[in-house]
Symmetry: C2
Subunit: 225 residues, 2 copies
């Protein structure tokens, strides 16, 4: 017999199961798109869940049909896939046969272009801002995103050193120094830049970065611009 019990309200577990199913539909991605914009603009604490819902064109209560709470929404936003874009770079390495300077140039340019065209490039600013309020999330993000990018860049440097094209310097430091300007640029754009502070031209900036660092890495004097 069916336990036609006195319980009318569904159990919390059932509610969460339903939420998990719903999270794969269209509505949640609208909410997440709205959330990522607002979180990047204002930060986590200063963003009201009602505003997120409003921007997605639904009511606040609807948001809570799809996400357990504000924090779950934040985590969903942060853990959105940067990995596929990073992996495009990894494939580039596998296929590439030319010199490592050119490879490095192509790799960084690719990443810059791909991230610039997506809201994902706002995530560094967001993660930096909220890291101390969400330490586990920071560690997770470091592991799946930053460490991944470092590994890929590390392979290029190793390749260059092995082929006698690059000097052998402190590997970890070189990799950080390759990423830092890109990251800094994204971060600046989404914070100071968005408040009216001057920003450098992205392509000139990246070109100069590559020009400098490739000359600095090279074992032989390069043709100079």
């Amino acid at each position: 017999m069916t336990t036609k019990a006195t319980i009318i309200r569904p159990t919390p577990a059932a509610v969460e199961k339903k939420r998990a199913r719903r999270r794969k539909e269209a509505r949640p991605s609208e909410l997440m798109a709205a959330a990522i914009e607002l979180f990047i603009e204002r930060g986590y604490a200063a963003t009201r869940s009602e505003d997120i819902a409003a921007r997605a064109g639904v009511s606040k209560a609807t948001l809570y049909l799809y996400f357990e709470d504000k924090e779950a929404l934040f985590k969903a936003v942060i853990t959105q896939g940067v990995v596929p874009i990073l992996d495009e770079g990894a494939h580039l390495i596998d296929e590439f046969t030319g010199d490592s300077s050119t490879l490095l140039r192509e790799l960084l340019t690719r990443w810059q272009v791909r991230f610039s065209a997506s809201p994902l490039c706002g995530i560094p600013k967001l993660m930096i801002s909220e890291a101390r309020n969400f330490p586990e999330l920071a560690l997770y993000h470091e592991k799946v995103a930053y460490a991944h990018a470092r590994k890929i860049l590390g392979r290029v440097i190793e390749r260059g050193v092995a082929r006698g094209e690059f000097r052998s310097l402190d590997q970890d430091a070189v990799v950080e120094l390759l990423i830092a300007p890109l990251l800094m640029h994204f971060i600046w754009q989404h914070s100071m830049g968005a408040s009216g502070c001057p920003t450098v031209d992205p392509t000139r900036y990246l070109d100069t970065h590559l020009d400098l660092i490739l000359a600095g890495l090279a074992t032989q004097p390069q043709p100079r611009s």
Copy 2:
């Protein structure tokens, strides 16, 4: 005759004048020290004014004797003097007679050491996080801090180019690229780093940065490490 009016409460203007006088005493700097720590840790919105007061060892109401509101305290913290430290670098340039590579090395090292030893190095992270919530403040900070640093670095690059030591590249971009790794390092330390993410060794990082960028800037092939 003195207007012995019915007014018992002091006028808001008088209160503010009193606050301005008090702000030059010892208590406010304790409050600001506490505030800078907490703002950097948790961000502006997530920091409760009661916690700031508690860390400074006073009650919340006392805080409001010295600062009009939370925002005024935040602005006071941000506008704390980075300029003197930057100017140490400017003096270095004036006195220096050697080659520009060494000058650049000394300048960046000096800044790195001086900022690392002070809570001021947390301000970039704070400003980045809150720029969009305080646009005027972002512009002010850009003007008195970042633009100032850029100008000083610009002079060194010009000096190097004039003396035939440095290649002539996009001036603005080069300056950004000199600062970006330092800034990024401070920002990382105070966000991801503080959440347990691995951080590179500062001195190795700075050494490699200088090694790379000076080699990249140099007109003549340098002695290579």
